[in-house]
Point group: C2
Chain length 530, copies 2
């Protein structure tokens, strides 16, 4: 297996040769008459969890798809994925394996590290926190006063916050109407004291269990917020050790610590932004919705991971999505992409994908630490539709630049509670808006008045399915994790470290120590009254 920079491949040159034609892709022809129905019917790749990936509104034809297949083959994307599954050191910068897929199920051989079967370890921790959730629900585990817990509060930041929060919100309403809602969940993330203070004030402390999440056990924000919570618990006459569980690595200071009600473990092979399917997401989701819901989420993710092994890009949605993204980024020149879920439940899913993508592939050096000569990860942003339509879509339709779009939509709502106005329900209106936007972005509309003209030619893809339920959500999550992984392989990056966060940490320590010796830092510290 070879790791080479993308611009050194034959496929790169082929795609560069296709770029001009790609920029002139004729959406109107592709979406005209019988061709449209045929294209939209055919340009669908199956996904896990009952989802599908539609790429009919992407600027690709058979020639481009063949060239993208050649990228997949030449950069050995599936082989690299298999190596990752098999436990190779894919996080080269930190000399670590990358094993979040193993949290959901085993697709390669056993992964053994220092004599330990890691698949078994992950299963054991899953079983342990599932049992913990059962015991909380049964009232066998309770707080200081013996009253059952009604609230769970996660203390964590970055990957310990965005993914779990997005998943909780994605299932909260589904759970409420399906009899699965067991505990209310809240999240404390920011070191801004107003965040912890407000959340604590909104929760009945006597009935609250806190999940303290830090792999290293040294995250500044999380430790500050832990102490914040402990002081409030004590002030309320409660024993913190009966209200806090730790989710950490076995080598962290939080591990095997009697200060906590219980502790669950991960290891260095689960990156923060890839940790939602570990106990980082699993403890709070199991407490909130029960172990079965989390299990279904894992099953959906595992199914997606299996599908991602398929070498044919037309049968592998995460691979295809990755390659089309590369086409748009490196050859069509689009520096951003918008994630637009037509589902209020996915309100924070774009924020999770923003971390997943930008922290993984926002890099200018390859996996060997050499500077690359091509663009890598794009800026990712997004808000739910139809809200976004009344906000930033103006620029998407008529701005001077083109932003590729990733739509997500579902046939059924989660709460099955709807109202008919003007002959249609709201869920139908939601879907009609979604269909209309895809077509409007692609085809545009001519008007003699340039202010009312829509140039179209704005690419989008659509992930769709029956309903946003746990299995579909797990598949959706893993789809994007695998997409980002494949893009990292194409660009020859290490998608699994984050050296870009280090300098800020070091300077923060200096600023806190005062009189840092850095004149600029001291001057800004003075402005901010530090």
């Amino acid at each position: 297996m070879q790791y080479i920079d993308f611009d050194k491949t034959k496929a790169f040159k082929t795609l560069a040769g296709l770029a001009l034609a790609g920029k002139q892709f004729d959406y109107a022809a592709a979406f005209a008459g019988d061709l449209a129905a045929k294209r939209i019917q055919n340009a669908i790749a199956p996904m896990a969890g009952g989802l599908s990936y539609s790429y009919a509104a992407k600027p690709v034809d058979e020639t481009v798809l063949a060239a993208l297949q050649a990228v997949a083959d030449e950069q050995e994307l599936i082989a690299k994925y298999k190596a990752l599954l098999g436990g190779e050191t894919m996080n080269t910068g930190e000399n670590r394996k990358v094993l979040h897929h193993l949290l959901r199920g085993q697709l390669g051989g056993d992964v053994i590290f220092e004599g330990k079967n890691l698949g078994e370890f992950y299963k054991q921790e899953l079983a342990r926190f599932s049992q913990f959730a059962d015991d909380v629900h049964a009232g066998k585990i309770a707080g200081t006063t013996g009253k059952p817990f009604t609230h769970v509060v996660q203390i964590g930041i970055g990957g310990s916050d965005l993914g779990p929060r997005a998943l909780y919100l994605a299932l909260e309403q589904w759970a409420a109407v399906n009899g699965k809602k067991k505990l209310d969940a809240k999240f404390i993330s920011n070191v801004d004291p107003d965040d912890a203070s407000a959340v604590i004030a909104s929760v009945p402390l006597e009935r609250a269990v806190f999940v303290l999440v830090s792999k290293s056990g040294t995250t500044q924000e999380t430790l500050a917020n832990e102490l914040f919570v402990k002081e409030k618990l004590k002030a309320a006459g409660l024993d913190p050790s009966k209200h806090i569980v730790a989710m950490t690595s076995e080598t962290s200071p939080l591990a095997h610590n009697p200060a906590y009600l219980d502790s669950f473990y991960m290891d260095d092979f689960i990156g923060g932004r890839y940790s939602s399917t570990s106990g980082v997401g699993g403890v709070i989701l199991s407490l909130a919705f029960g172990r079965d819901v989390f299990k279904q989420l894992l099953e959906g993710a595992h199914e997606a991971d299996s599908l991602a092994l398929e070498p044919d890009i037309l049968k592998n949605a995460s691979l295809l999505d990755a390659l089309i993204g590369v086409w748009e980024r490196n050859f069509l020149g689009f520096p951003y992409t918008a994630v637009l879920p037509y589902s209020q439940a996915l309100s924070r899913f774009p924020a999770h994908l923003q971390q997943l993508d930008m922290e993984s592939n926002g890099k200018r050096v390859n996996r060997n630490g050499e500077q690359v000569r091509y663009a890598t990860g794009p800026v990712v942003f997004g808000e739910p539709g139809t809200n976004g339509q009344h906000s930033f879509y103006q620029l998407l339709h008529q701005g001077t630049d083109i932003v590729p779009l990733q739509f997500i939509g579902f046939i059924e709502s989660q709460r099955a509670d709807d109202v008919v106005v003007d002959g249609s329900g709201s869920q139908t209106k939601l879907k009609a808006n979604l269909a209309a936007q895809i077509v409007a972005f692609a085809k545009g509309k001519h008007d003699a008045n340039p202010n009312k003209e829509f140039t179209g030619k704005r690419p989008s893809s659509l992930i769709f399915g029956k309903q946003l339920a746990p299995r579909a959500l797990g598949a959706l999550l893993a789809h994007f994790e695998n997409k980002v992984m494949f893009q990292g392989f194409v660009w020859n990056l290490n998608s699994f470290d984050q050296e870009g966060v280090q300098l800020g940490k070091a300077l923060t320590k200096k600023a806190l120590a005062g009189n840092s010796g850095d004149a600029a830092l001291d001057a800004y510290s003075r402005l901010l009254g530090i």
Copy 2:
């Protein structure tokens, strides 16, 4: 006064001549030793509400600032602002005045339309909904059962949602600890039925007053959600006409309608994304926090509007911010900008700015409807710090592209509830992180290992002040409104219409009617089970 395209100005050519030097701006030199302290001390423009705008970490020197002043002068930015204040038809596409400044106070002559003094009209409506809020708080106005209202729910989308929601969240905690919190507020925006259904299920309907916001009274999402709410109220045995107030224009079907408890009015001269300081934001904020809090917010905004009249760009923060943005967009080539508030209370403020900016200036035609030959509004996104540091900052520090940054921070927290860990409080840590990030982005850090190297040269500005309180928030809001307005003037755009939303609306109607005759639309409708 002349309206000419930006690339036809002399100043454009001057700036184009400076672009190469601008791209090579020496941040390290600017931030080295004594120069750093001096630059950071001097590069501050005063703002309203006790805020300041620091631009020391922007790639500008005296030559560039002089060229930006020349843009302001040549494009007659202050004269155009004065024309707007005076009631000229600045929304050329829709043949409308643009009068949101007049909501906060009068800075020009009386604005008369069809014999009506509009300043007086806005004042009268402000007085009316202020009194309504007083009466609700006093229990003089109550719902069907006579019990006082405890919850207020806004029904609105786009500008009727994002701005009011961002402002509510910005003051919720401040109000809670300052004895100003009167009603809990919630928001229903999306046509996704799960949004309305979930919010309604979370509110005691008997104690809830709804604010129905639609200027035209024809917004599809809002009308669907209104009926949703009405049916739930009826099902709970409540009389909708005792629980809903309308915020609309006097010509809308919602106006003077006995179906509502009361109605408050705006007019066509208040654009949706500029309506937060009208009753669109004012009714719910006055109900939630009392009339005085909203008044202070208006005062802060009015003070900002006054400052924006200053012709010297170094004394006019919104003008300077606008021009530096133009410099970065058109000459340094950055297609996006990130808004990064170090304040959890501003968690949704970036989403509001995203609409404000992208819907106003995401245009490819000038105010006369002719295509422009330069880039206009950038993509805007953002999340609060320190959360973002653990998420997408990796790309900001080490990605292949440069994203200009807008930091916001405050010396004091809102809740004055803090914890000391390792010798510093959380608020101090928050500020230390902020100072550290600005310096890290600007200066970077050399390392022999390219993976640990930070190239720096990543521009940022900082808005800072003592505390996020109503007056500061009003100033902050108006700062960005005025910034966007000035950029629109530079680019010769009409920043006040939004033709880009129309095509989607038309195609949605077709999709809902079924068998639209558009093969692509029909095919997507089938995929989504419409």
